[in-house]
């Protein structure tokens, strides 16, 4: 069993992103960066399969700037076996990332690709589904449970209003939802060991993929703020306001 886990370097989930002063883009100049939380869940999912299976290799792959090596090392410290970085100078759109990952998938021939369902930066929720399309693989998105039986993976999907169980033949693409698992912490010895694990760096240019952007970012702004409200003193006061001021109840 070979599992490919694509991971993304994103802003730390506790940091509130701000626009640049000129409104041209997001200001990441001083932001603390980390491994996308959904990618951490994807790594954990792969490691749990590996824990049950001696013959399992987990490969963490990222398409991004040079510093994304840090996030691959995090995945290696959690327990992934090796890493691959496709080094790109500028951020790529999901379609371009998917095309790069398709090339890696063609080379590595994994049985399973496990993605986080979305990056918490651009909230696109696209790359996994796109790789599935490009590879012609089945896709299981929003997974809250994964169970491999032979050459079929059974998954539970969290959908609006409930859940569904699907069966997909391997190889397949899965995307991890929030409740799939709780990722493990890397221990200090494992962090040290991770420094010696292989991390292959490839130049984006060597992949021969057309990654030219399809979209232009015209600007980034803050959403309209809610107007400051008031404190009410009692339930009676609240009901009076909802009826006569806001007029949202009769």
């Amino acid at each position: 069993m070979k599992i490919l886990v694509p991971v993304k370097r994103v802003i730390d989930y506790n940091v509130k992103a701000r626009p640049k002063d000129d409104g041209s883009d997001v200001d990441l100049s001083l932001a603390k960066m980390g491994l996308n939380p959904f990618c951490e869940i994807a790594i954990e999912a792969a490691l749990r399969i590996k824990d049950e299976n001696d013959q399992c290799e987990v490969i963490a792959v990222s398409v991004g700037e040079k510093q994304a090596q840090e996030q691959i090392r995090t995945a290696l410290a959690m327990g992934a076996d090796r890493g691959i970085l496709v080094e790109a100078d500028s951020p790529l759109e999901p379609l371009a990332v998917a095309k790069c990952l398709k090339i890696i998938a063609d080379r590595e021939c994994p049985d399973l690709l496990i993605f986080g369902k979305q990056g918490i930066d651009n909230d696109n929720n696209q790359t996994g589904q796109m790789v599935a399309a490009l590879c012609g693989y089945p896709q299981g998105t929003f997974c809250s449970a994964i169970d491999i039986v032979g050459d079929v993976v059974a998954i539970t999907r969290e959908v609006d209003g409930g859940s569904e169980v699907w069966e997909l033949p391997l190889p397949a693409v899965l995307t991890a939802d929030l409740r799939l698992n709780e990722p493990r912490y890397a221990s200090l010895p494992n962090i040290m060991k991770a420094k010696k694990k292989p991390l292959e760096v490839m130049a984006l240019g060597d992949l021969g993929v057309d990654t030219r952007p399809r979209q232009a970012l015209l600007g980034v702004s803050l959403p309209s703020e809610r107007k400051p409200g008031i404190k009410v003193d009692s339930v009676a006061d609240l009901i009076e306001k909802l009826k006569n001021e806001a007029k949202v109840i009769l």
Partner: protein
């Protein structure tokens, strides 16, 4: 400009979000086709013919579309483009499953969660859990997108039906198989379209205590939601979670009960018309975005509130 909408439906009923997607489509063109793919779903297609703004309904009725799998559905839609300039679906677990796969098949870069349409190629969408809004120009020849349905009011139904076209194309890739569906049965309105949402956080304390919220919601003919903390604690199922990784709602009235107001939660409800916050902690961030804040113990307030509402 020609728009194609991919309709979501289940058990013979068109999903209510379709009405919002049609509204979004009207901001692009007056030539709107709506695809109803499924198995034995002619009734849904017939119903869709009466939606304001829809000029043509396309029915693809075949057992291979029964589960609306992304694999089969995206292959069908990819085959139908051109002539369409825009392809729209709701930004929920259905649309977000299908649209990226379709985008890759068409070699276009879709937009997720469009909340405003400025023109035929310029769109606004939230990024960073809705803390920022990106203004994006799409240069693809086909613009594929999921739209945030709470940002577009629903269209109405009309008395005249539009044309119905039947396509006889079966893309049976047999790549995936749905074996089970568990949909939470409830007489309450759907969380995504409810006029009132009563939402609880960790401070509610237990699933037993959530009954206080259900009771209040029923009185207001509303629905119940929850913060991630309440879902993580096991008080309510995951499908009630509101926020960056759950549902996005924008009801007329949102009552946040014992919710502190993490940015991820606020991302899912800040477009509500009126927000009420009830929390013991006067410093809770939820009060910064609430129209009406009541600093009090929820266990005192909820029964009183319910009793005083006639």
């Amino acid at each position: 400009m020609k728009v194609l909408i991919i309709a979501q439906h289940s058990e013979g009923v068109l999903d209510a979000t379709t009405l919002n997607v049609v509204r979004a489509a009207l901001a692009i063109s007056e030539d709107i086709s709506l695809l109803v793919a499924g198995c034995e779903c002619r009734e849904v297609a017939e119903d869709a013919r009466y939606l304001e703004g829809v000029t043509n309904v396309i029915l693809a009725d075949h057992p291979c579309y029964e589960s609306l799998s992304a694999e089969n559905l995206s292959s069908l839609v990819a085959e139908m483009v051109p002539p369409y300039s825009h392809i729209l679906a709701p930004a929920n677990t259905f649309g977000k499953n299908v649209m990226p796969r379709l985008g890759a098949l068409l070699d276009v870069q879709p937009l997720t969660d469009v909340l405003h349409i400025e023109g035929t190629d310029v769109f606004l969408r939230p990024i960073y859990a809705g803390n920022l809004i990106a203004r994006i120009q799409s240069n693809d020849n086909v613009k594929a997108m999921t739209v945030r349905t709470s940002a577009f009011p629903p269209v109405t139904r009309r008395t005249e039906a539009c044309t119905l076209e039947v396509v006889d194309k079966a893309f049976d890739l047999q790549l995936s198989r749905r074996t089970k569906i568990e949909i939470g049965r409830s007489d309450r309105p759907d969380l995504g379209t409810a006029r009132v949402v009563v939402s609880g956080g960790r401070a509610v304390g237990s699933s037993e205590n959530f009954k206080l919220l259900y009771s209040l919601a029923d009185k207001l003919n509303g629905s119940v939601g929850a913060s991630r903390a309440a879902v993580d604690a096991g008080f309510v199922p995951y499908d009630l979670q509101i926020g960056q990784s759950g549902r996005v709602v924008a009801p007329e009235l949102y009552i946040a009960v014992g919710i502190s107001g993490a940015i991820q939660h606020i991302a899912g409800m800040k477009d509500s018309k009126v927000v009420v916050a009830i929390n013991k902690d006067a410093d809770a961030p939820i009060f910064d975005i609430a129209d009406y804040g009541l600093v009090a113990d929820l266990f005192d307030v909820l029964p009183e509130l319910e009793a005083q509402l006639c």
